[in-house]
């Protein structure tokens, strides 16, 4: 029962993440890939994502400090981060990355700063939510992978 509840909670959380646009279809693919061969795939990918994205964001931040107005560099870094977002399905964060890159294209330093702040914020929120989700999954046990209400 408890298990089931946890599962349901996990499912609900996931659905809300989807509904609110934090995650997109790609996340479904990731969960799809979890199987006997890779039982903790989702969790692994998520933690890898946050670790790597934190690093990338630090790079961007440093680049913005040390290389002011070096939009190409900023853009290159952000492209990496954006790629990660794509891979995990972090939709909102990806959008903020895009707007950052647009600002870079426009050479709008102010705009970049703002976008970056948004990226950071989305990153933080997503991290929090996904961590809760993973936690629920972990607690719910492997059975929850069978049900994937969030993914149509």
């Amino acid at each position: 029962m408890e298990c089931y509840n946890l599962q349901r909670q996990a499912a609900c959380l996931k659905r809300s993440l989807f509904d609110q646009g934090y995650l997109d279809e790609q996340f479904c693919q990731i969960e799809d890939l979890q199987d006997e061969a890779s039982p903790n795939f989702t969790e692994e990918v998520v933690s890898l994502f946050f670790k790597d994205s934190a690093r990338l964001m630090t790079n961007i931040e440093q680049a913005m400090e040390k290389n002011p107005r070096d939009f190409n560099r900023w853009d290159a870094h952000m492209q990496q981060l954006k790629g990660s977002c794509y891979s995990i399905g972090a939709s909102r964060m990806k959008n903020e990355c895009t707007s950052f890159r647009n600002n870079c294209g426009d050479e709008n330093a102010e705009g970049c700063m703002r976008s970056f702040q948004k990226v950071k914020r989305e990153h933080g929120v997503l991290r929090q939510k996904l961590e809760s989700y993973i936690q629920l999954l972990r607690q719910a046990g492997p059975a929850e992978t069978a049900t994937r209400p969030g993914c149509a």
């Binding site: 790609q26 990731i30 492209q79 794509y86 891979s87």
Partner: protein, 667 residues
């Protein structure tokens, strides 16, 4: 039971299309190397691939990927790589892999812009996927492996089946991946064949990475090195018999070479035919591209070139060269072969090339005439068939082996050579290949008889463009320099650059030969003297990028040849030069001196060049700054070439054109 059996049977059916009901389960077990610096992407990709039942090896560094590939070519069937990587640009890796290992490469990127995709294609990617990658897309990637195999062996489908059926070759099971063990040996086979091709074409056993020694345990025959001379004979024989009627036995008889077996000839013939096919395919592709782009716009041309050139490059130049050679300028000797065979006097080469180019253009219009040239341009090729065919052959080889960079380089050089001036120009212009082409084009335009000069130039440009791309790749690839082997140490030098360090080599070679003259010429003609022509040391950069970068920069550099720009171009030029140089050196040790004459020619045509330049300059700027400059150079070259033709300038053996060919042709 029955169900199970039929299911199994069906599965086999599915897989067995290629394999002909083999036990091999291709595409299951296909060995993929995945490269992406993004760990998240890489992990997801790996899992997706595993889900498709491929054997996956991953690395987050392009350099490591190259290392893995170089250590054992047989280890993988397919490479998937991200475009944006910190240690090496994905396109560069793509080129290198294509040239060195001739493996299909799929690019991955978040960036789906047309120009990026186009860049991927022109660099040789067999597919371009957007992130996030879906598993459905990955399920079909095996087709690229098969397609490549089939196209390589157009005539030997049976071989492919055999390959598929063959158990994995022992040598492919190198430690790197556990994967190797189970996978069918197609790639092994393929790579074996590739190796063979490479070895055959590579001649001299250059330091090419080709795994000459890695020959799978299966048949190990003594390799025949298809030197320029040999190839020339071959082409002559084929032309004599007629491409359709040429059978190995008769070719062998005509060639009258000891220790050459019918088998050698047969396989060489096959490659040659494939080459010709590719040329024509490319030509038609080009034609369509040209049409699509509206042809005239040089920038488009360049782009088009990039697109279509891949295949074209080798061909086009060779074709151009071939045709050029025969033309009058060639002073008679082998030169006609366009450098393929000998470093015929540059003059001849030049004119020949010009003619060839023009001829081609006219005949085929948009299509790459080169193909036509090869086959139908007897007029242009006094020498005959050998040249044009030879060139294509070489080109083909290049294509086979190097896959582009070299071809393009050489092709470009071929053109350049013909243009005689082009060579010089090449050196001067940052974008050697392109410039060459441009120049070639310019020249073409000069000739009134050539209706399609513009086309040619386009083609040329394309080729050039492609070449330039290739250049970079080639630079990094040793293999690319087969020409080098044939011709001289210079060539060898070229090889080095390919390794990355060899880049400098290119430049080095340049100086050896033509470089000296080239620079001289440049000065004389006022063309952009590639002072640095030899871009030596820039090898560090990816030649491709350099080229492009160079191109951009080369504009103003034409005269100044700034070092940095030159790097790129020189690299490319170098590669070209090599050819030229190589040829030149071969022919005349005093290539330098020979170049001089060319230079004169160039100066003569400088006016024309200028005119030409303008034409191309317009176009070029679009693409790269360098191009414009290149065009100038090329124009000059072209003009000089044309002039040479008209004036019957005495092109010395320096004729770069020859060089280009031979190198390429020799392949």
């Amino acid at each position: 039971m029955l169900l199970g059996a039929s299911a199994a049977g069906m599965e086999e059916e599915k897989k067995g299309v290629m394999m002909g009901r083999e036990r091999d389960q291709f595409p299951v077990g296909m060995r993929v190397l995945a490269v992406d610096d993004d760990p998240v992407c890489l992990k997801v990709l790996e899992t997706l691939l595993r889900r498709c039942r491929y054997h996956v090896t991953t690395t987050n560094q392009a350099i490591m990927a190259l290392k893995l590939l170089r250590e054992n070519r047989d280890m993988f069937d397919l490479v998937i790589s991200d475009v944006h990587m910190p240690d090496m640009d994905g396109f560069k890796l793509l080129e290198l892999v294509g040239l060195e290992m001739d493996l299909p490469v799929i690019m991955l990127s978040v960036n789906g812009e047309t120009k990026s995709v186009m860049k991927g294609i022109t660099h040789g990617a067999c597919d371009y996927l957007l992130k996030p990658v879906r598993i459905e897309e990955l399920r079909n990637i095996w087709q690229h492996v098969v397609r490549r195999k089939f196209s390589k062996r157009e005539r030997s489908n049976l071989d492919i089946y055999k390959d598929f059926n063959k158990p994995p070759s022992a040598d492919s099971c190198h430690g790197h991946n556990q994967i190797v063990g189970g996978a069918p040996d197609q790639s092994g086979r393929v790579s074996k064949k590739r190796k063979e091709m490479h070895s055959d074409e590579e001649d001299e056993g250059e330091e090419n990475d080709l795994q000459e020694g890695d020959e799978p345990s299966a048949t190990k025959k003594p390799r025949v090195v298809w030197s320029v001379e040999l190839h020339r004979k071959f082409v002559a024989a084929v032309n004599q018999l007629g491409i359709d009627k040429a059978v190995p036995k008769r070719i062998l008889e005509l060639m009258n070479v000891e220790k050459l077996t019918r088998e050698n000839v047969a396989s060489h013939l096959q490659k040659y035919r494939l080459y010709l096919k590719r040329l024509s395919a490319v030509a038609s592709q080009q034609a369509s591209i040209v049409a699509a782009f509206g042809g005239r716009d040089p920038s488009f041309l360049h782009m088009g070139a990039f697109e279509g050139i891949q295949g074209y490059q080798p061909f086009v130049p060779s074709a151009a060269l071939s045709s050029f050679n025969p033309h009058g300028l060639l002073t008679g000797t082998s030169a006609a072969t366009f450098g393929v065979q000998e470093l015929a006097p540059t003059m001849t080469v030049q004119t020949a090339t010009n003619n060839a180019i023009i001829g081609h253009c006219t005949s085929d219009g948009n299509k790459f005439q080169y193909v036509g040239l090869q086959e139908n341009q007897p007029a242009n090729l006094p020498r005959g068939s050998t040249t044009p065919l030879g060139l294509p052959q070489l080109q083909q080889k290049w294509i086979h082996q190097e896959n582009n960079d070299l071809s393009t380089v050489f092709s470009g050089s071929a053109l350049a050579n013909s243009l005689s001036g082009a060579l010089q120009r090449v050196t001067s212009s940052p974008l050697p290949p392109q410039e060459l082409l441009e120049c070639a084009q310019a020249k073409l335009t000069i000739r009134p008889s050539m209706p399609m000069p513009s086309m040619n130039s386009e083609l040329v440009e394309r080729t050039v463009g492609v070449s330039s791309n290739l250049q970079d790749s080639s630079v990094s690839q040793q293999g690319a320099l087969p020409i080098n082997d044939a011709f001289s140490t210079d060539k060898l030098q070229l090889h080095d650059p390919f390794d990355g360090t060899s880049g400098t080599k290119f430049s080095v070679t340049m100086p050896v030969c033509p470089t000296g003259s080239l620079t001289a010429t440049n000065n004389k003609s006022g063309a952009s003297s590639c002072g640095t022509v030899l871009l030596p040391p820039d090898t560090g950069r990816h030649s491709n990028y350099l080229q492009f970068a160079g191109a951009g920069n080369s504009r103003h550099e034409i005269d100044g040849m700034k070092q940095d720009h030159l790097h790129n171009q020189e690299m490319s030029i170098g590669s070209f030069n090599h050819d030229f140089g190589a040829c030149m050196t071969e022919q005349t040790n005093a290539s330098m001196s020979s170049l001089m004459p060319q230079m004169k020619i160039n100066s003569l045509t400088s006016e024309d060049k200028l005119k030409q330049k303008n034409i191309y300059d317009l176009g070029i700027p679009k693409l790269h700054g360098g191009f414009s400059s290149s065009s100038c150079n090329f124009d000059g070259l072209l003009s000089s070439m044309i002039k040479a033709e008209k004036d019957d300038l005495s092109f010395t053996d320096n004729d770069l054109g020859c060089d280009l060919f031979p190198l390429g042709a020799c392949i």
